[in-house]
Symmetry: C2
Subunit: 376 residues, 2 copies
């Protein structure tokens, strides 16, 4: 109905302290370092890397990743892939099943424009994909989704060969390989525990690969892994392609995990933050800010205050957060700005329409989050 | 960067079972009944009602409420008010403080177009509002925000008169009245407990009113209350204006509270739902659907399955939910649609760009959620 009425504080050139809040900021320097470090680490591994756009929802960032050696991108949903394809991103893997006639028609429409591959774990879904692709006269690349331990989507490892054969023998489809992603272990804080689980996931994926080879098929690609297991996955040697997402931004939860056996923190820097303003100072030990459930995701806990070590953030409704200063008085005034690290970057990004990219204290550019909300 | 690529399944005329998911549905009949019942209950109370647009974020629904007797609307944030003002909604109260020079300039810009009032709880903020309004040559109506028990924003009741005087004596401002909203008690399940707390909140607001009268000022308006306390607030007699929001949609949490001393459920019907699709059937007792943290808010718990009494929804990441059938087998297939009641309507609505309005099993219209994400 209405176009957006732009807020004054988000134009390029605005000093950081004058940005209207709540706002989602990218620290340009940290972000560029993360992109560069990803290129270095992931390419040196000898594996392909296919970053996940579900983290950032931005074709512009996807293009940056491709310019930095990425083999293509992952999209969590068809809607996200439509946005990427419309922006000219030429190689997209959709990492969840695309189900139903209407969605398959949409999938085929974008598959005509570039290389689009998709995962499947169900015979009926494979048959529908085949019917759609064949009648459109195109070929769709399909990967078998394997449950490597998360208990979400995917066939058991031993049954991968059976579904792979069905794909390979279906008109309009080619069998591309296997996807095995264990989202549940990415954020295990303890390095050794995460290593044990990553090894178990790799073994399940290799068992699935064996089942495919027993079925007489070649495997083009073994794809999976995330930011949390990427260093491990490289060492374990199962995957031919890794799917890191959060490395571009990081978040408070990812920053808290151990990256190595020596318990080193992750080498990626916090590049995403929330800017909030104090709107009320009702008590000596409390400030109220303008960030609540609608501006910071809650699935992984509250966001973390960046420069106020003695204070903690508590959600106080849709539009408010309370900063509690347990050990003494609150130094903030009405109008003070505070910066927060999101607890979960993906779900926080999904609340905003744009990033404000800040360099040396000034908004340098505004990047649309074009695939925001495209969970369809 | 990119315009939205519309999904095929959301056009008017689409049968409900063919809608592409995740989708946010309004049941047209239940919604109209809620709007009508609100008119009846709230107008009969002899109090004005000023519904909260933070629930629905839609100027179209705001207009419907005005056509049904509402005195104006509430907006939680300036960004929301900008969208409403741009759509021609002529009487807006912003229920949180508008802080900082840039925001005050934006406030003044919309105050030129219609009647805009705002709350304040801080002297410095009042002085900035005054400077902005006076230099623009307009008059802003300001209400004192009173902490009636939530411990969020607001002055203590006894200090309301002092701030009211400052407003009344400031160039460019008129003192409008008091706002006292206790969000923390709206969802207390037990009717008697909620009644006790609503009474205490009313007493604090009346104490604040006394402090204003002692300061020699007349009070135009005592505004506050929400859907959960609306029936109580009407009986308690403190407020001259009530601010119900959720009554248009309801949600699983609101539906679970007792509306009367006889423990009657709320008279408003569930009018908002999420449509999901089963994308995987990995086990006998489990189905995976395409709704996760990015499609259903989690702040008030998981959404509730509407027609599957023996199953429960568990979040399984950004884009997935697991339906667990504890007592036996799962009757759903890949491609089956399921309908869910959101646990919290406001924060779930804020994830979507549009409502699909469904009547008699068919999409009748598509309503943009124009103020989605406008937390700024």
């Amino acid at each position: 109905m209405m176009g957006r009425v732009a807020a004054a504080g988000e134009l390029p050139g605005t000093p950081k302290e004058e940005i209207d809040t709540p706002a989602l900021l990218i620290d340009a320097t940290a972000f560029e370092q993360n992109i560069g470090l990803g290129r270095e680490l992931f390419l040196a591994s000898g594996r392909a890397y296919r970053p996940h756009t579900k983290t950032h929802k931005s074709p512009l960032i996807a293009r940056l990743q491709l310019e930095n050696g990425a083999a293509g991108v992952c999209c969590a949903k068809l809607g996200e892939a439509e946005v990427m394809a419309a922006a000219g991103i030429g190689d997209v893997l959709i990492t969840t099943p695309v189900v139903g006639q209407r969605k398959i028609s949409r999938l085929i429409a974008i598959a005509g424009r570039g290389r689009v591959s998709v995962v499947a774990d169900d015979r009926g879904n494979v048959d529908q994909l085949s019917a759609g692709a064949a009648s459109a006269g195109i070929t769709l690349a399909v990967l078998v989704e394997v449950d490597v331990g998360q208990g979400r989507c995917g066939v058991p490892p031993g049954r991968a060969g059976e579904l792979a054969r069905r794909i390979a023998s279906s008109a309009g489809l080619t069998f591309e390989g296997l996807q095995g992603y264990n989202g549940a272990i990415q954020l295990l804080r303890d390095f050794h525990e995460r290593e044990v689980q990553a090894r178990a996931s790799t073994e399940r994926l290799l068992e699935a690969a064996e089942s495919v080879e027993d079925a007489g098929l070649a495997i083009g690609c073994l794809t999976g892994g995330g930011t949390g297991t990427s260093a491990l996955d490289i060492g374990l040697g199962g995957l031919t392609e890794i799917q890191p997402g959060s490395y571009v931004f990081m978040d408070a939860t990812y920053r808290s995990i151990e990256w190595t056996a020596a318990k080193a923190p992750p080498p990626f820097r916090p590049a995403l933050s929330l800017l909030a303003t104090v709107v009320s100072r009702p008590a000596r030990d409390r400030a109220i800010v303008d960030v609540g459930w609608k501006s910071a995701s809650v699935d992984s806990g509250p966001p973390v205050l960046r420069d106020l070590a003695d204070a903690r953030f508590e959600f106080a409704g849709d539009e408010h957060g309370a900063l509690r200063f347990d050990s003494g008085g609150c130094p903030l005034e009405v109008g003070s700005k505070v910066e927060l690290d999101p607890s979960h970057c993906d779900t926080t990004v999904n609340l905003y329409d744009r990033y404000l990219v800040v360099r040396e204290g000034t908004v340098e550019s505004v990047w649309e989050i074009s695939a925001r909300g495209r969970t369809d």
